[in-house]
């Protein structure tokens, strides 16, 4: 992650607020056939909540009703847009689940919002956060935070027992679901209209801490011609290449940053870097390698084949294509790149020709790389094992104490 401390999202003074920001955990695909990392019921709930709020709200001109990350256009700078939205929202609505607390990303969203509340000297900061129990927690896991999420369902036992996700999905809970929705919408409108914060500066997602637990590592490597952005991509027929459109001049192209963000959002500690920088780390970390097909022009297909033939199975390539159906040189090179990689790997190679498509397959590819790593990767003993086990004889113990080594 490239973090620039102290950076805050630019809040345009002309930007109006939004009534609520919906925060939730993205879940990796849980079986081979599942593609998406976003639970469809979150989308359903968002639409229902937005409708309920809109029905009650009397917004000032330009004020929007609700925001959640599925509104971010594919390939846009996710982190910047999130900070902007967190700086504009009046109420933060987190959907609590075990996955929410296990991941750094949603916890960081909440921390960004809390810091913004502090910076804006909010009078009653707690009322701007209205948590929801999305999936049930057993009683022994109900921390004060979770207990707070129960309060909106006072008197509705199904809410505490099943969580709002179940109420959203099961027709038999329709009434309870509607009741919770209207309580929540009432609360949001009340806070937004009676004690508005107004848009204010919010820190960048990378600049706040998330959950305490360390997340597993993941590498996103970019394999592109050394000459960088100014090379061939501009020469692709039709002018603009979809992968290099924004952030011209930056060393790591947006597609790699975006892939890193997707991996992070799934609960991994993603490092985004040029291929050469992280090549040595592939033996110990699952990875995806984003391949710019111009590598074929730059170094030849044999280079691609030989490079990937030597890499572990948990390093998964993704070939970028030009415009869909483009008969120009971009597509032909992508074809060559895919062929070269196919022969090295003997498994079908992923190829994408739009940000939409990238977003669609990334969670699956990331999950597959990580799973392969879990199954076939190197096994390391726990880091805590630093002393040799004690032995029966004193002198052996003394010898052991003198030489601490990790196996």
């Amino acid at each position: 992650m490239n973090s620039t401390s102290g950076r805050t999202a630019e809040v345009q003074r002309t930007r109006h607020g939004v009534y609520f920001f919906l925060s939730y955990a993205h879940s990796a695909p849980t079986s081979e056939r599942v593609r998406s990392d976003a639970d469809p019921s979150v989308g359903v709930f968002f639409a229902d909540l937005a409708a309920a709020v809109a029905a009650r709200a009397r917004p000032l001109e330009g004020m929007e009703i609700g925001f959640f990350d599925q509104q971010i256009p594919p390939g846009a700078n996710m982190k910047a847009l999130l900070s902007e939205a967190l700086g504009s929202a009046e109420v933060f609505v987190p959907l609590y689940s075990p996955g929410y607390f296990a991941k750094s990303w949603p916890m960081r969203e909440q921390e960004v919002f809390r810091r913004r509340l502090r910076a804006a000297s909010a009078v009653a900061p707690d009322e701007h956060i209205v948590p929801i129990l999305w999936t049930p927690f057993p009683s022994w896991e109900q921390t004060p935070i979770v207990v707070r999420a129960l309060s909106i369902g006072a008197g509705i036992s199904e809410y505490g027992e099943n969580g709002l996700r179940a109420l959203c999905m099961l027709a038999s809970y329709r009434r309870s679901y509607q009741l919770i929705l209207s309580r929540l919408a009432d609360e949001i409108v009340k806070v937004a209209e009676r004690s508005p914060l107004g848009p204010s500066a919010a820190p960048y997602l990378d600049d706040v801490p998330g959950s305490a637990a360390a997340e597993a590592g993941f590498l996103v490597a970019m394999l592109a011609p050394r000459h960088g952005v100014s090379h061939a991509p501009q020469a692709v027929k039709g002018g603009e290449n979809p992968w290099w459109r924004t952030y011209a001049g930056r060393r790591i192209p947006p597609v790699a940053e975006h892939a890193g963000s997707v991996a992070e959002r799934l609960g991994l500690e993603a490092r985004v870097a040029d291929f050469v920088e992280v090549e040595e780390l592939f033996g110990q970390s699952p990875a995806i390698v984003i391949v710019d097909p111009w590598m074929v022009a730059d170094r030849g297909s044999e280079f691609l084949t030989s490079t990937f033939a030597g890499l572990p199975k948990w390093v998964v390539p993704l070939v970028l294509d030009g415009q869909p159906g483009d008969p120009g040189s971009g597509s032909a090179m992508a074809e060559n790149a895919v062929e070269a990689l196919d022969s090295a790997l003997q498994v079908p190679v992923n190829r994408v020709n739009s940000m939409d498509q990238l977003d669609e397959i990334l969670p699956t590819v990331v999950a597959r790389a990580r799973r392969t790593y879990l199954r076939e990767g190197p096994v390391f003993p726990p880091v805590g094992l630093s002393k040799r086990p004690g032995r029966l004889r004193d002198e052996d113990l003394r010898n052991a104490e003198g030489s601490e080594t990790d196996e």
């Binding site: 879940s27 849980t30 079986s31 296990a102 999936t135 099961l170 027709a171 809970y173 999950a367 199954r375």
Partner: protein, 219 residues
């Protein structure tokens, strides 16, 4: 904060056991369609259990044996899954109770020691969560059914929760539950059946949280 059992991300939470469909003159679904429904159930179950437990990237909560029945040796991964999974979910049908392969899977799980975790919930006596998949012609549960909970159809489709009925060996399954089975429910309800399926993993979660089934490494 999240209960993760033994912490090994490759150990499946549940093992979905089912009889591979045979072409039958009376069957209304082709074997391929039948398999698709099982796969769909598996995917939905996996996703719901994953949500309930907060599965991490690369962890698949479920296991399903997709090797062909009739192979004489167990694939190592099937053996490992049967030996390490926490909850066993057989999809009961007359094909299931007749299948030697399914009986072997059931037996492999049944033999493992169960360690009860201290808890105030009754849960089920074993970590076998039997689901009636298709209406059964036979009334008897498979061997090893003593103490096994059968998830009644009413607990899946209707509002409220009825606790699953513990059955003793040889006891007839209640007539009402035999009528449609879960597959019948899925076919009849179509897309809205998805909501009903949510109840199955909620039930799967219960034995997972309340008992630990000792691991048997494939030998």
């Amino acid at each position: 904060m999240v209960f993760k059992g033994d912490g090994n991300p490759l150990v499946p939470i549940f093992f979905l056991s089912y009889a591979q469909a045979r072409l039958s003159r009376t069957s209304q679904t082709s074997p391929r369609d039948a398999e698709l429904h099982v796969l769909r159930l598996f995917d939905d179950l996996s996703s719901y259990v994953g949500e309930l437990l907060g599965s991490a990237v690369g962890e698949y909560p479920g296991f399903m044996d997709r090797s062909m029945e009739g192979e004489t040796r167990w694939a190592p991964e099937v053996l490992a899954a049967a030996g390490t999974c926490h909850v066993f979910i057989p999809l009961i049908s007359s094909g299931y109770v007749k299948s030697k392969w399914c009986a072997m899977e059931w037996d492999a799980f049944w033999r493992r020691n169960v360690i009860r975790r201290p808890s105030d919930s009754s849960g089920s006596q074993t970590a076998i969560l039997a689901v009636i998949w298709l209406p059964m012609l036979e009334d008897r549960m498979p061997p090893g059914g003593a103490g096994t909970a059968i998830l009644p159809a009413a607990a899946i489709e209707g509002p409220g929760h009825r606790s699953a009925l513990p059955l003793r060996r040889g006891v007839r399954a209640p007539r009402a539950e035999r009528r449609g089975g879960l597959l019948g429910l899925i076919l009849a309800l179509g897309p809205s059946a998805r909501g009903c399926l949510l109840r199955v993993p909620c039930r799967a979660e219960d034995p997972y949280r309340h008992s630990a089934t000792a691991r048997v490494l494939p030998g």
